[in-house]
Symmetry: C2
Subunit: 350 residues, 2 copies
Amino acid sequence: RTLNLAIIPGDGIGPEVVAEAVKVLDAVASRQGFSIQKKHYALGAEHWLETGETLSDEVLNQLKDHDAILFGAVGADPRSSTIPSGLIEREILLKLRFAFDHFINLRPSRLFPGAVSPLSNPGDIDFVVVREGTEGPYAGNGGALRQGTEAEIATEVSVNTAYGVERLIRYAFELANSRARKKLTLIHKTNVLTNSGQLYTRIFDRVAAEYPEVSTDYCHIDAATIYLTTEPSRFDVIVTDNLFGDILTDQAGAVTGGIGLAACGNINASRQFPSMFEPVHGSAPDIAGQEKANPIASILASAMLLRHVGEEESAQIIEAAVEKDLKENATHERTTGDIGSSIVTLVENA
Amino acid sequence: RTLNLAIIPGDGIGPEVVAEAVKVLDAVASRQGFSIQKKHYALGAEHWLETGETLSDEVLNQLKDHDAILFGAVGADPRSSTIPSGLIEREILLKLRFAFDHFINLRPSRLFPGAVSPLSNPGDIDFVVVREGTEGPYAGNGGALRQGTEAEIATEVSVNTAYGVERLIRYAFELANSRARKKLTLIHKTNVLTNSGQLYTRIFDRVAAEYPEVSTDYCHIDAATIYLTTEPSRFDVIVTDNLFGDILTDQAGAVTGGIGLAACGNINASRQFPSMFEPVHGSAPDIAGQEKANPIASILASAMLLRHVGEEESAQIIEAAVEKDLKENATHERTTGDIGSSIVTLVENA
Ligand SMILES: CC(C)[C@H](C(=O)O)[C@@H](O)C(=O)O
Ligand SMILES: CC(C)[C@H](C(=O)O)[C@@H](O)C(=O)O
């Protein structure tokens, strides 16, 4: 079997961490007897500065032909750049999520043995956030009137559809049902955002009836940030909207020992388009090029990628290697390359 | 001088904690030689169940005539109630915030000496969140089409105005300028919510030019939850929108040793209408009536109330008493009444 992957290293620490993930992918492929064909795409702030292009229709079309995409991070360096804030993120990352209908944004949070949580009593953290990826406040709706005047009004419209919410919630119930604890928590702000809140609640309750073995509960987004601080181990699977998921998973990354360990899958669960796997962290221009970035988020993203394309065993080998590496070395100072090599060796000897 | 206060104890633990705050108010008033006239208003879930009324125009008019409002908490018990989710909160708490133009929602976060943070290295936490209170995603805009069908679409419209954002940001700069560190952080999600993001950024930068001594920075809401976990002491004053402020201040409450200590002011800074002071926590029906609730949030809310009506010294006496009480007793198991009495005694002997 030959896997046909698109690689988008991007900006800042993106290329450094992706390079290590690619080494790990190659190691596991040769161990498991399949091969990987890789095509690199130069997209990001640098490419924009050179060409004025973010993501052309031509490139978008080429990307469609891959089995999956490994994505690093994009974003301009805010200290020196003339690129409008957020432009690169919107026109590359968000454009890909919407164009390839990545309606499941899957974000596992685990406190690995050896990893150090900033909480004094973190407990046993192992949950997955199923974040919506193609609607809500990310729909790009809204606008401004009388911009720049004292009478300006600016709106953001969160757009939520039964179509989008039902496929999200079904995915989350399936996932919860496949896990040992079989628990699903809906997180929203139904007491204030009543229109979308009712839509989420109604569909959640209806689908719940089809999964009698899954226990369910509900939690407001504000209360959820408290639980993530005081008792994160209470969560098993969380389902939530696009913006709440964005916020929660950064907090979850911090709570489980650092955003340098958190990976994410932008998944088109109906498999019409390639899914895309990336670290939850951004391009971190302040530490780029210094061998300081932790490549584990990108390496775990590559494990999620392999799981998605059917290489479950390879995914498990990588995850076990990461776990072993962290157990032995999490508290040591190491370079990006040190961590990558250690995990490659562990994969080779698995 | 006679202060003319409205008291809205509300539901769940609201009445228990407000009762202690009122004792503390009385103690400080008699010590400082002013008197307090109090009128209690029975509003909340119980009142709704009896009368079908949330907050009538008549009561709203009566409330206008007070110098300030001390608010407990409202909200139905979700385990037994037939009250639609969020109705009480919206039709009482949010209605008051909007009717009395409480455009500043002021939420101090402090790790008191003696209080126990769930973080192993909390540092010296002492910041204030200036949350917008009258617009953004709380505007109640939006709706639903084809409700209950497969083709349903539900929207939430965040409405932001130059009028609302400028008065918020000016208040935040004044506050930052009055504090020792003189630092102000804008928190938003400008890379995705570009319309309101530009409005906030533009006004923030313009007003910043008038406060050369205040150092400023910007942080996305998702990154802010990381900093609140890894380095909360970095913040001095935070200015943010209504929903982000809601989320951040619950997390901040948890990080500083529990939401039972966090107070908040709903402030009409132009003083056209009475301001309202309350705990950040809700009605917590699961522990109501058991003398388990911590009244400190309500007691600190009464200190904020006194500061707002010009009784700065009284506010400081209460805050010092809370600080002393926590230093000596924070780790002891105590009832609501124990904590209240301890603080009353400390105020009397101040
Ligand atoms: C870069 C940004 C647009 C993005 C998001 O908000 O989704 C990021 O924060 C993430 O979580 O992947
Ligand atoms: C009860 C709810 C409507 C309210 C809010 O969202 O503002 C509460 O969470 C708060 O923070 O005061």
